[in-house]
Symmetry: C2
Subunit: 545 residues, 2 copies
Amino acid sequence: MSKKNKLRIIPLGGLGEVGKNMMAYEFGNDIIVVDAGIMFPHNDMLGVDYIIPDFEYLLKKADRVRALIITHGHEDHIGAIQHFIEQINVPIYATPLTRGLIEGKLARNDAQHKARFKTIQAGESSNIGVFKVEYFHVSHSIPDAVSLGITTPAGLIVHMSDFKFDHTPVDGWATDFAKLAEFSTRGVDLLLSDSTNAERPGWTPSEKVIGPAFDKVFAEAKGRVIVATFASLISRVQQVADAAVKSGRKMALAGPSMVDNVKIARKLKYLEISDDVIVPLEQALSMQEHKVVLMCTGSQGEPSSIVGRLSAGTNRQFDLKPNDTIVLSSHPIPGNEESVSKTINRLLRRGAKVIDDGVAPIHVSGHASQEEQKLLINIVRPKHFMPIHGELRMLMRHAELAKEVGVEEENIIVVENGQVVELIGNKIQLAERIPGSYIFVDGESIGDIDHDIMKERSQLARNGILLIDISLDKRTGKLLHDPEILTRGFVTSEEAETLLPEVRKRVMKVVNEGKNSEKDIVSTIKSYLHQETKRKPMVFVTLSK
Amino acid sequence: MSKKNKLRIIPLGGLGEVGKNMMAYEFGNDIIVVDAGIMFPHNDMLGVDYIIPDFEYLLKKADRVRALIITHGHEDHIGAIQHFIEQINVPIYATPLTRGLIEGKLARNDAQHKARFKTIQAGESSNIGVFKVEYFHVSHSIPDAVSLGITTPAGLIVHMSDFKFDHTPVDGWATDFAKLAEFSTRGVDLLLSDSTNAERPGWTPSEKVIGPAFDKVFAEAKGRVIVATFASLISRVQQVADAAVKSGRKMALAGPSMVDNVKIARKLKYLEISDDVIVPLEQALSMQEHKVVLMCTGSQGEPSSIVGRLSAGTNRQFDLKPNDTIVLSSHPIPGNEESVSKTINRLLRRGAKVIDDGVAPIHVSGHASQEEQKLLINIVRPKHFMPIHGELRMLMRHAELAKEVGVEEENIIVVENGQVVELIGNKIQLAERIPGSYIFVDGESIGDIDHDIMKERSQLARNGILLIDISLDKRTGKLLHDPEILTRGFVTSEEAETLLPEVRKRVMKVVNEGKNSEKDIVSTIKSYLHQETKRKPMVFVTLSK
């Protein structure tokens, strides 16, 4: 088989949701990249703000990269664009709303001038190098989302990014079944599909079910309604606005990303909210409480968000009032359950009424569940199947579903990020693993935090530190003064009062016995501290001679 | 109303599940304490092993404490007994299995001699001071669990600890409905009830559903089956043994607490497993793979557990084999979702088949859901209701359920730990809040870790540390040598190469300008580091003159 017919499929990034944040398709001298999003840090990634995919592989072949295609405007698909185009400045292909949201985000970071866009529309196609990319509409929790049919010399690929089969979506625009059926007729060589909900039986409910739930909450609320969701969950804003109109409330938006996104989506006509429904936040705060709904961020319990600050009583612009109803219109992202739960407890403790998706259907998933995933495979009838967008456990479940609906087991391939897959001679196979992992972003530093640093942070965090400062007489090697000792995160001040003099005594003893190397002192003190407290702080000695 | 008729109800501990780990009832000069368990640390409680309730309040009145009554043998009800009896050595009232499990736990910590026991049986009662305590059986995920009817001069209290209304429990011993009905006839002044599943609609499935699920897994597994659960989930051990017999497998136990608990429960006849079913672990490891089931701990993804070590490839006694099926027979404790998920991904990556409660019904909750909670209230028909065993969000939901089934709103009281409640003149009211919070156990230190230390640890963890060591000439105030700089958890070694020389330069400049106080140096360097990295490590200066 000629090497010329080899399509390489490269999911980039560290462990996590496969190909969600970035996926590359490479054929000969042409590479197209799909999405450039961020991942949110796990609980044990101390001090990390967010994670971007490692695209080192692409940097080496930067001259072959032809396009960055963005499927929709959510953070996990657009959040790393700025970092990407700073290093590989190719045109960004995006639908109008997606483009608007990206531009807004870049503008907030003063980086809008760096981007070149090609606006695309669902139903259109682009020829990019050897690839022909057909964009088709999918319903998701944000309008104007697309998935891709990619015709390559190695075969026809269908790349399903985040989607659901919602027959009654908020914008009335369902997934393009006809296009999927058309691909099927042409013969699909490889289907890649969203595995987010592969562990969830049945069908994901339509966004439509949220309407009546909101209506009920808005009607019953005695005071203000405060709806928290993601700033990029544009469809939810429409639903809140509709409920506001029905209940005779005005809507105000809080938080710069929420304000920006709604402005863009309204301007581009993806949100239909008439001017008299939206009032400035200041005005809303002085209106009668039962005439108001506030929309803000913080549904994931982030301490720095508006809801996080309301729960802690530290929000500047406004505080909770006794009759407030807080609606958390999202589901906790895996790993955030504890933080969301704490936030809810704090809000209740401060007297608010809280409604989450366990109490009323004020949120539905934006991703296809098992029956939809099976339906997709049955419509597309691909020869090969590769589950993407999910952790390994979900991918494997999705692979099982594919097998159930008739894809041959040997034609299903499950990989994690960094594992290159090749489609060659109408066969799918594993190729090499490329180095690459998480790129942690912390402050302004990109990639300056690695797993070693994380490990050190975890050591610091587990038991704290103890510093010993010693000055020795150059000639005699004797102590010039008593050792100074400082601790953080190790013992309470009470405990320190009895423990630290003992540490000092032992340091002096060791030094006076002539064992005055840093190593000797550290090991003596470490074993003493462990014996006394069963804890192992990091011990540092600074020694001046 | 005479002060003499006042019953005080005191849920002890920090925020968390109310009255779950410890609850005190006080009347005049008599205090009885119900349960003494531990809480597991939240993700942001860095370096904490576990948490015990703060019973400072009881220490002051230690001479009035008459009894420690333990409802069942789970860690969150027995884990703090050792700490408790070290300070308040009262008799421990427990049913035979609960007693056995406590004795085993104390023996493992070499503390068995400290405990005095009174063995009780469901159906019996004890007169303890002014209190008459009636023990009655409840079904839960451990045999020999009881709840309490407490007759006090202020009225009849029903204290429902962990329970479910399982009509077909593993041991065939259902909750004592007749006793509940009898209390109801006598007139219950206050019902306290388990709120764990107050957010869960419907009925909790019977433990019986697990049997067929296990049978299927055991029959289909090509190789070994490894079942992970809590060491104290004694009922699950019976179910695994039954499935082992049916599928012609032998069972081996791994891990000291699992081995101990099963030994005790078998000896006391709470487990019916014949001798030929259980084989030593070493023997099991050399048997044919499809003839074996191993039971161990680690269903919560704890890195130090057997399953945690298997997932990381660091288990000493045995390793994963290609045909292994791992059954995680529990549900993630809130806050553990991420860690469980990571463990599952690691096990899959290492080639094991993994079955959790999302794949097959191999676990059911041990706690009553909404319909059971409502049924309980309707059987007992209490005048007053106080939800316990749950976070605030669950308590409030439980309170709503009570209202729905007819308890008067003003007779329902929702409090968190540390809030004393009084029952007086057949009215329920809030009394004072007692100081008290989490007591963190870290290593051997009990209570030596407080929130300040946790805050310092979190600061250390977020951005790491930077140490600067300076020696100045005593006379001239000039630097004796270049400052030494050390960092941990802050920058990679590459980044350090360019950053640290700059830091050194700036320290020298500041010192040479005569601003050689620690404060001056710290503030200069902190602002430099923030400017360069947007991060804020803790900066320490040790200064020798």
